[in-house]
Amino acid sequence: MASGSKERVELLQGTLDLIVLRALETMGPQHAYGLAARLEQVAEPSLTLNQGTLYPALVRLEQRGWIKGSWQRTETNREAKYYGITRAGRRALDKQAERWRRLAGLVEKLLLNES
């Protein structure tokens, strides 16, 4: 139900933004479906998520001015909204990535010390 999926998004929220930005930086402009496919590729196969849950993250990032969407045609001649990373987005990605690395390092260290 609604409340279940929301909880999972919250769990992923910080990482999801980071992953989306990173994917757009390396792959160039992508539509939501393309991003979802990329996400499924990266993530463990056991971790499946509804592709719809991408949308709040896209709105959030677009409202912050880190990505920008525009309507284009796909290779299969379907219309789709392509999102590209902006300059502010790249700066944010660097900062977020750094923060994540540090956080991940800290958590790693803590986990090691605990055991």
Partner: protein, 885 residues
């Protein structure tokens, strides 16, 4: 930066929705199409691919919802949707909406009006700088515990000398007297104040200056209104002369409207620095003070007690049982009306409770009727939260609209209350009453609280319902759940009980008021014209100066009474100082020759009211002379002093013996023995509520210093008011500088019982409102219940029941509710009867007639509310009723 940008965009999306929604739909559609393409590529049939795409994507609506939450403020969007839906729903049920809005508006309106009065009169600080530092100092008798506002002159001087306790301290005395400007004389609220008086209040003058020590008995300060009325402007009044009594004063200052103490004062005249009468036995002076910085009220009172103990030791004759108490000025001003106002507040609070119960009942009835609608909403995916918030939104809209209309009602009600109130009741601080911010807040709180209170019950009940059960139910109507009908019945019972309490109290106050108006007063009230007159005389009783001038005034009034008696339409005329229900009153101790000596400890002496009267006064007022004679023209200053006593005084001091010929002395103004020449009937002096007590009458002309202020009475054979012009002209022709004002004895007596009339009218109004609401509530519930049971009644009729049987069935249910409600109301009224006890006159709080009256009023009304729906139910055509099934 980016966070702010995001907030602004969200705000923008909230304020300007609509553009992003279609865009999102397009994006989702394209996403699904791409997914389908992918699945078809993997070898699925188009149909399978469509379903698989949906599954992979997840809930489309949920996604949109999440998207909305992220791009805007979800809860705000929800609230807006709920409110819009609520307004639309309510507009579709105009009767229901109007009933609720009106009910709420009545409750909220009455409360706001009443609370405005309480806020202005009791709660709001006085408008002076550091007003909570201003106190009045009262005289308290330690043996009886009674407090009186007047201090003795000698005591006042000693209290004023406590510089450590009081920053400023001032005595004052006065009332309405004749003030003369140029050739005009007018009755004007005038007080004689110690020069420090304005330092106590800290109000700067609007023009001119405040008093200093040199101003005593020479300077006056007037109100802005007085200055503008008589001299066109504040500046124009400065240095102008006016005279009070016969003493000339010069206006040195003008006070702004903020200075309004004592109430209705227009002239403050500088009194001597030390009071004229410095003995400690006569209590003639009122006093106010400003506490010195850092001195608490408790500290001030401790200091006053210490002083009192000291004085008791030094002056045991006069001060043995005396102490002084400082009371905050505001508390002192409102002490007399506080209880009345809070009882009134209780009454309107009951009205509000009844109104809320009514509203709750209406909503509850509607909610049960809507259970199918809500079930459909739930089936279509509305969560429990949504149903509840939608119902709450409806309540909120109703409460806000009801509150707004109520505020409108409050405005009108307050205006009526003030007009009515200021005319009949001398409520203090009425100028401070207005619908202020605090009152608005109170109204808002009351209506929102009401909304939550009555909105939640049906909301919870409706949302708890089992969707499929409600949907499967046959027929358009919901079932009558046992729980909801219990709540509804409970609400009706509460309404009946509460309104019954109000009806009983209204009955008590009504009976009490009737007792007041029926009480024999001991004097005539019909056909008597009253003229307050004030003639100037030069000199003062304190140095016995100007006696000749005062004696001339005595002669003048004697001549005036004779001339007034000749005016066509006047049967007889006379005058008094201390007319019953009038503005002047005096009392004190007396001694009977051979029984007591006058002086020493006054507390051992009997006391009486002191009055002055002219020849013809008792005849005009129809106060019966029981023994001896009334005063005549021979009772003059140079002749032996005489007195007339009332029946009560004769009984108290002479028992069954004959008082005529005995001599009596009192502390009024002279220490001469007076021979008792007559006994007259008792009167109720202050109002019909005051018990007939001992009175000592003395001839006007033997007490010249007190006889410049006279209340002239004329018994007329025509309408008393019609003679005002003739009387004024007659007096003016004899002496133009006599100040006069007119009333009738009837009006004067009516004014004296204005407060109980005000209370009775108000409580009766509230009781009527409450009964109407309760009856409406009863009617609504009975209508609803009978409508729910239409098919049952149809079946009964089809099976042979008579119409009367159906009516009886419905009425039996109603009777049970009424019986429980009335019993509950009766019990509560008895339990709380203590509250109104001291507002009652002549009846006990258990007065059976009041209870019977309330019952006789409430029962037929509730019966009426039940019989109409009952008859409607009995008339139902069984075929139609059964087809509805």
């Amino acid at each position: 930066m980016s966070a702010l940008r995001r907030f602004l965009l969200r705000l923008h999306n909230f304020l300007r929705p609509g553009r992003t929604e279609p865009d999102l739909a397009r994006e989702v559609a394209s996403h699904l199409a791409l997914l389908e393409d992918e699945f078809i590529r993997r070898g699925m049939t188009p149909e399978e691919a469509r379903l698989a795409a949906r599954r992979a994507f997840g809930g489309v609506e949920q996604t949109k919802e999440l998207h909305r939450d992220a791009r805007s403020f979800g809860w705000l969007d929800d609230a807006r949707r709920d409110l819009r839906l609520a307004v639309r729903t309510l507009r579709r049920a105009p009767g229901f909406t109007a009933a609720i809005v009106l009910t709420l508006a009545l409750g909220v309106g009455a409360n706001t009006a009443m609370f405005s009065v309480i806020s202005g009169v009791v709660l709001k600080p006085l408008g002076y700088p550091d007003a909570d530092r201003i106190v009045v100092v009262l005289n308290r008798w330690t043996d009886t515990g009674q407090t009186q506002p007047n201090l003795a002159g000698g005591d006042e001087i000693d209290i004023r000398a406590r510089r450590g306790t009081f920053d400023a301290f001032a005595y004052y005395q006065g009332g309405e007297v004749g003030v003369r400007i140029a050739d005009r004389a007018e009755f004007t609220g005038t007080v004689f104040v110690h020069p420090d008086f304005f330092r106590v209040f800290g109000v700067p003058p609007a023009a001119g200056r405040l008093f200093n020590r040199d101003d005593a008995q020479r300077s006056a300060i007037v109100s802005l209104g007085f200055a503008e009325r008589n001299f066109r402007s504040a500046a124009g009044a400065l240095e102008q002369p006016l005279s009070i009594g016969s003493r000339p004063y010069e206006i040195v200052g003008v006070m702004p409207v903020a200075m309004r103490f004592p109430a209705r004062t227009e002239v403050w005249a500088a009194a001597p620095v030390e009071p004229n009468n410095r003995n400690r036995g006569g209590h003639n002076y009122l006093a106010v003070g400003r506490l010195a910085p850092g001195v608490s009220l408790e500290a001030a009172n401790a200091d006053l007690s210490a002083l009192a103990i000291q004085l008791a030791r030094s002056f045991p004759d006069t001060n043995l049982r005396k102490t002084f108490v400082a009371v905050p000025l505001r508390d002192n001003l409102v002490s007399r009306v506080r209880a009345t106002l809070f009882v009134m507040m209780g009454a309107v609070a009951l009205v509000l409770l009844i109104a809320c119960a009514n509203v709750a009942n209406l909503i509850l009835a509607r909610a049960s009727g809507r259970s199918r609608e809500l079930a459909v909403r739930a089936a279509l995916g509305a969560g429990r939260r949504h149903v509840v918030s939608q119902l709450l939104a409806e309540s909120l809209v109703l409460a806000l609209v009801g509150g707004a209309v109520g505020l409108l009602f409050a405005r009108v009600g307050l205006e009526t209350l003030l007009r009515f109130g200021s005319r009949y009741v001398p409520l203090p601080r009425l100028d401070d009453v207005q619908t202020d911010g605090r009152v608005l807040l109170f109204t808002a709180a009351v209506s929102v609280l009401t909304a939550v209170a009555f909105g939640l019950v049906p909301a919870r009940q409706a949302s708890r319902g089992d969707v499929s059960a409600a949907l499967n139910q046959s027929g358009a109507r919901g079932t009558l759940g046992a729980g909801s009908s219990r709540i509804r019945n409970g609400l009706v019972v509460v309404q009946i009980a509460l309104s019954f309490i109000l009806a009983i109290n209204a009955g008590l106050l009504f009976r009490s008021f009737a007792a007041l108006t029926d009480t024999p007063l001991g004097f005539r009230t019909q056909g008597i014209l009253v003229a307050y007159a004030n003639a100037p005389a030069r000199g003062s009783i304190f140095d016995q100066s100007g006696l000749d001038d005062y004696l001339r005034v005595g002669q003048l009034f004697a001549d005036v009474f004779a001339r007034l008696g000749q005016i066509p339409g006047v049967i007889s005329a006379g005058g008094a100082m201390g007319l019953p229900t009038g503005q002047y009153d005096s009392n004190g101790s007396y001694a009977v020759e051979g029984k007591q000596t006058f002086g020493g400890d006054f507390h051992r002496l009997p006391s009486a009211g002191f009055r002055l009267a002219s020849p013809g006064y008792f005849r005009t007022m129809a106060i019966p002379v029981l023994r001896g004679r009334e005063f005549d023209d021979g009772d003059r200053y140079e002749r032996p002093f005489v007195a007339v006593i009332s029946e009560s005084l004769a009984r108290e001091s002479f028992g069954a013996g004959d008082p005529i010929g005995h001599r009596i002395m009192c502390g009024f103004d002279s220490d001469k023995w007076m021979t008792i020449v007559g006994v007259v009937g008792d009167v109720r002096q202050a109002s019909p509520a005051s018990p007939p007590g001992p009175q000592l009458y003395m001839p006007l002309r033997q007490h010249p210093y007190a006889a410049t202020n006279v209340q002239m009475v004329m018994r007329t054979s025509v309408a008393p008011e019609s003679l005002i012009g003739a009387v004024r002209q007659t007096v003016r022709s004899m002496r133009p500088d006599v100040a006069m004002k007119f009333t009738t004895m009837e009006a004067s007596v009516n004014d004296s019982i204005a407060a109980p009339r005000f209370r009775m009218t108000l409580v009766s109004t509230f009781a009527t409102l409450a009964l109407m609401l309760a009856v409406a509530g009863m009617y609504a519930v009975m209508s609803y219940v009978t409508a729910q049971r239409t098919s049952e009644f149809g079946l009964r009729v089809a099976l042979g029941a008579k119409a009367a049987d159906v009516v009886r069935l419905v009425l039996r249910g109603a009777a049970r509710l009424v019986a429980v409600g009335v019993a509950l109301g009766l019990a509560l009224a008895l339990a709380t009867s203590r509250i109104v006890t001291n507002m009652l006159f002549g009846i006990t709080p258990m007065d059976t007639q009041a209870y019977a009256g309330a019952l006789l009023l409430a029962l037929p009304l509730t019966f009426l509310a039940a019989i109409v729906p009952a008859i409607r139910a009995a008339r139902v055509d069984p075929m139609i009723a059964l087809r509805e099934q």
